[in-house]
Symmetry: D2
Subunit: 204 residues, 4 copies
């Protein structure tokens, strides 16, 4: 239906998370309407992202290396912040989850981005996760006292948490999971049984 | 639009919870199509409800008095069950919440149905709640050790919990609220800040 | 979970259209809270419905017979209204659809309530419809010039319309269906292909 | 919260249609995970779009100029197709609507992309539309017999259609709008009054 050049870009945008062909075509028409210099700003910004951004050696969070501090080349702003609590390591599945937790300003420890979750304990899924890197991190940092598994409360998150608990057992650290219960705004009548059970167990 | 007899019944059904005029009219047409004996079964069943059902003197849950046991006239099946834990009193706002909790089979204590929630601490709202009855219950039952406020996690539930905590303070009982956190199935990315904070606090 | 008398009424309410067990239980608790005289008003109103309401001999719409006019015993207010256009007969599947059309004040002809739709042309489905009565109506009223099939635009409505078109063919009347096209508020981008085709065909 | 380079790209993606900051950040993390050559394919494809794609001189649809036909430089595949019906001109507000209509394979005439709709008849809104270009098109092509206003059935589409009808009146062409009525799958009971009126008017 669309001409070749347009279709090629629609196909590339369709691979973006949450984007289907209809939205992808709206992106293309948006770019076609955009002034040439705005489009160049976008492509430059995308190239810059790949060239400038470094991945933190410690938590694997992407970051802008600070041009001033020499340390900036290795560690992200969180990992190089001396006031963070180094006895806590929070394992998250991706960068967005890290940002979501940071926004609450509640957690003051460090992070480790696992790079995904596993749907079942399939070997191919596990190979995509940073399991080896996690092992090295924990071995190299004896100051870690508690490892928090901050994973989704769905099937994939559960499977991953289970796998990690087994994997982390030999390191003899305290391992915790995020609390379950009623979320803000929830009505008891519509709570599922598991959540309600957790809410009774976690009452205080 | 509708004839008088039909409109009168539509108006009565429209007062039912969650029912609007459109649904109410579908109820009326449903009754019109129903055989006469089915409709009589319904009206008989409604009358029976008002005549047979008693309200439990202890928890205010409606129940069928058992024709055998003499005790059946005063207390519901839960309150008269000797194996329930009498040291726990769970305050719920209505009958549906009690049933929702019973279905989890997790809680083994007794209940008290408050009869509603308060949106703000308005005097008129408070008068609709069974505050006086709650006071008597707690005074008469020194075996109560923990009072669980099992209220909705929304603004009304919070306001009611706050009011009850203040009201119950002089009785020197342990007062708890249901645990907050991620509900089953929740994705961290979409959790609101308050829920996420609670999930971190309640980690285990 | 619920006591016998309550469960019996929940089961009866659960048969109401759009009502599931959860809503049915809310109905029962609503009735339990209602003053006795309000509940009696409801049961009286339901009984009155079955006793008072007549079904129009012509269109099968339920109506209150007028105590004054002698004619009131046979025909509803629409069918006995001399200013309605007797050359038009609009076939609808149920009473609610008739009311929905009347509210537009656009249509001035008469109606015929079919009593349902057929999902496929199953014999058992067809037996529930007033096909025989429709045949008599059309034979007895030579003044009918156009028969409008005002059925849902879904699969069941289509199947029923198809069946009726075939059934009505021998009567040599003009047979029409409601127009297809974009509904008010629709955006072209989200219109399905069939609707868009109809909108092009029906352009004016 | 995010580093500068990441935030800059999030801001640019947030301007894409239907994209908010959350989705924009997912796009950035997706690009960070993508191999460098995949990202380069994307930026090349975006640049190519701005360099290769031409806008059709006749209907303003973007297209790939065919390298073979000399004609390809001026007119899109639809406008240069000799088998299309040149007596029909369909005015659409944007490229996506044109594609949606093409997919139905129902319409065989030509198009004109207006470049937007007007919410009210504000002068600033009108200036964004290709009104001048439309005038020239109609003057230059006396073979046009019918102009179809294929606009959304919402307030903006209506306002634009009204404006165009007035503007096009002096050209003495047949002007039509897409048909209104029940869309495929619609149930009569839930149809709004205007749609139902249109469905009665458009019955056939």
């Amino acid at each position: 239906m669309y001409s070749k050049t347009i279709q090629k870009l629609i196909d590339l945008f369709s691979k973006f998370p949450t984007v289907g062909p209809r939205t992808a075509s709206r992106f293309v028409f948006y770019l076609l309407r955009l002034p040439k210099e705005e489009v160049e700003k976008l492509t430059a910004s995308i190239s810059e992202l790949k060239n400038n951004i470094k991945i933190c050696k410690s938590c694997f969070n992407p970051f802008d290396p600070s041009p001033i501090s020499g340390q900036g080349d290795e560690l992200c702003q969180i990992c190089s912040n001396p006031s963070r609590d180094k006895s806590l390591l929070c394992i998250v599945s991706n960068e967005t989850d890290l940002t979501t937790i940071e926004k609450t300003k509640k957690y003051q420890g460090l992070y480790f981005i696992l790079g995904g979750t596993v749907s079942a304990l399939k070997k191919t899924d596990l190979e995509k996760l940073r399991i080896k890197e996690l092992e090295i991190t924990i071995k190299n940092r004896p100051e870690i006292q508690e490892i928090i598994l901050a994973l989704n409360a769905n099937t994939e998150g559960e499977a991953t948490a289970l796998y990690l608990e087994r994997f982390l057992k030999p390191f003899n650290k305290k391992i915790t999971r995020l609390g379950r219960g009623l979320p803000v705004g929830a009505e008891l009548e519509y709570a599922d049984e598991e959540t309600l059970k957790a809410a009774f167990e976690g009452r205080k």
